[in-house]
Amino acid sequence: MTHSSTQAAGGPPTISAPDSAGERPSTRSRRQEAASWGRSRRGRLGPLPVVVGLVIIWTIFQFKNDRFLSAQNLTDLALQIASTGTIAVGLFMVLVVGEIDLSVGIVSGLAGAILGVLAVNNGVNATLAIVAVVLITLLIGVLHGLIVVRVGVPSFVVTLAGLIGWQGLELYVLGNGGSINFPPSVITDLTSTFLGTPAAVTLGAVLCIGYAATLQVASSRRARAGLRRSSPLSNALRVLLLAALLALAIFELERDRGVPLALLIFIFIVVLVDIVMRKTQFGRHVLAVGGNREAARRAGIPVDRIRVEVLAFSAMMAGVGGVLSASRLLSVSASAGTGDTLLNAIAAVVIGGTSLFGGRGSAYSALLGMLLIGSISNGMDLLSLDSSVKLMITGIVLLLAVSVDALSRARR
């Protein structure tokens, strides 16, 4: 959009005089082009590198093993990424505010352990146990946050201590048995429930209509206020793209067991967090604190409270992820949440384009990044590759993804 058309939309024509700086028109239009290119909030290239990477990886794996893109394997993939992906969403918000949470993997394991002790060993109602676990992890996050802002210990250190300490608590909670198996209950239903075709299609249709309505309302409000708005064509294309993606996913998943409830929970959280970040005052403040903490403080934003809230949210998401993980594996053991859970979650968010230095990123980075990491892991399992090769390839992909992002920023 050019400057003059913005003016024409509702401003007095007097202002479209030449720039006071006296730039030549060609320079000006080039700068405007650069500026509109810079509008993307997910880094220079937006989600493009991840999507391209995903297409490449899926093509390679499908070529090597034609079961990779089968309905059954894609359903398995969806179930595999749901729990770590949920953890990654919490981590995303922590990274945006300019902090880090190293304890999310262990807290997810601890959540599974507490869930097992409550629901299985002590016979607490399964739903109640889930709620209790989520609240406990929320409190763990509040504790992290309070130590960070009150005592002034960096979140890196606080959550590193948490990484060690909460693992101790996890072992303590599990006791000598070391492992708890979950009999069928609401807990196991979370990952063994699938939406049938009618329900899935209805949900998809509602989402598309809702999205179209939101775009339409926003467009007409902006038009009434004389502001630049997206064209009806681009709105229609966006809705069509969403509809096509949903139709494809539903069609594919319905050929197997159906749309997994766990996947819906994960995506619901991603969409919710994305809306909170872009459309609410809280999200705006999180971005501001991550972008320039001192500026946010001077603008009267309660910086410390927001840091606590974000760390609390991340621990809570780790709790939800832990519940989903326990549900899928039907058991929780001393090794739950250890190993690569934390690193996969961080890798997912970073591959998705969220900056480690705060202020930049989209909630969808958790979804796309997790899909990429999950696909690599799943595909290499199908090819029965040795874990030595898997680790090296995952490392290279992470480095590649971040390099693409860094290079696109440097080119500016």
Binding site: T6, G38, L227, T280, N292
Partner: protein, 266 residues
């Protein structure tokens, strides 16, 4: 107008053994651009901090529109109608122009809980556009992230934000430092706009050329004391420089090389 908006009398402030300000008088009238000049360590920053509430004075009287008042913290200054744009601008580069203007005071359309409130982006963008138009600030697109703006445009955004609260006095700390020629012109145009709107503007600057271009009056601080008060319609830059350096003789430490001399060298 019969009285200054802001008048400071006998302001003193001491840091340990250093007398940073010694009984300084200062005033700003409506529709006036006052340049506050002085050498490094002359007390300019300390005086700005007194007016912006960041560093209250030890002694002295502050009058706002003729009423004596105390400024203990930044909030006091803001409430009175004194806005300050510090040199670091305090902008969030990862947010767009409208988001920066309304940072911390966002318009919301409905509120669920404390900060869980729906942003009214249409309202904020509309107000941003009207504000920028009123000041003739040209920014191609309001949804441009601040990181892709030029230095002058950033300064303009910071100044515009300072105007949101409807202040009567605006303090600008070195607004043209580190700006190129074109960008400086953009900021000085904006200062002219502020004067035309009847605001009092205090401009701290090292650049005499800028001061003579835009300011009506120059107040010189020297070693924490009033060193001179010049109407810039009549004063020459020699007058101001000698007041800054505190002597009529030691104006320049380096002799000026004439053009002929340069050619001789070549």
């Amino acid at each position: 107008m019969t009285q200054p908006i802001l008048r400071l009398r006998g302001i003193s402030k001491q840091f340990a053994a250093v007398q940073a300000l010694d009984s300084v008088d200062f005033e700003v009238w409506p529709g006036e651009v006052v340049a506050l000049v002085g050498d490094n360590g002359a007390g300019k920053s300390t005086l700005v901090k007194v007016m912006s509430g960041v560093g209250p004075p030890d002694e002295g009287v502050i009058e706002f529109n003729g009423v004596e008042c105390a400024i203990h913290k930044p909030h006091d200054a803001t409430r009175l109608g004194i806005a300050t744009v510090f040199q670091d601008l305090a902008l969030c580069e990862n947010l767009d122009v409208a988001a920066n203007l309304f940072l911390g005071q966002e318009s919301v359309s409905w509120r669920l809980a404390k900060a869980l409130a729906w942003l009214d982006e249409v309202e904020m963008e509309g107000r941003t556009r009207r504000l920028l138009q009123a000041l003739s600030v040209k920014i191609p697109e309001l949804t441009t992230l601040v990181e892709s703006l030029s230095g002058g445009q950033r300064q303009a955004v910071a100044i515009t934000r300072a105007l949101l609260g409807g202040p009567q006095v605006v303090l600008l700390d070195e607004p043209t430092a580190a700006l190129g020629v074109e960008q400086t012109a953009l900021v000085l145009d904006l200062v002219d706009q502020l004067r035309e709107q009847g605001l009092g503007v205090v401009l701290i600057s090292h650049n005499l050329a800028d001061i003579f271009e835009v300011a009506d009056r120059a107040v010189v601080l020297r070693l924490g004391k009033n060193g001179g008060n010049f109407s810039l319609d009549t004063a020459t830059s020699q007058d101001v420089v000698s007041a800054i350096t505190g002597g009529t003789g030691a104006l320049r430490r380096r002799p000026v090389r004439s053009r002929e001399k340069v050619h001789d060298d070549a």
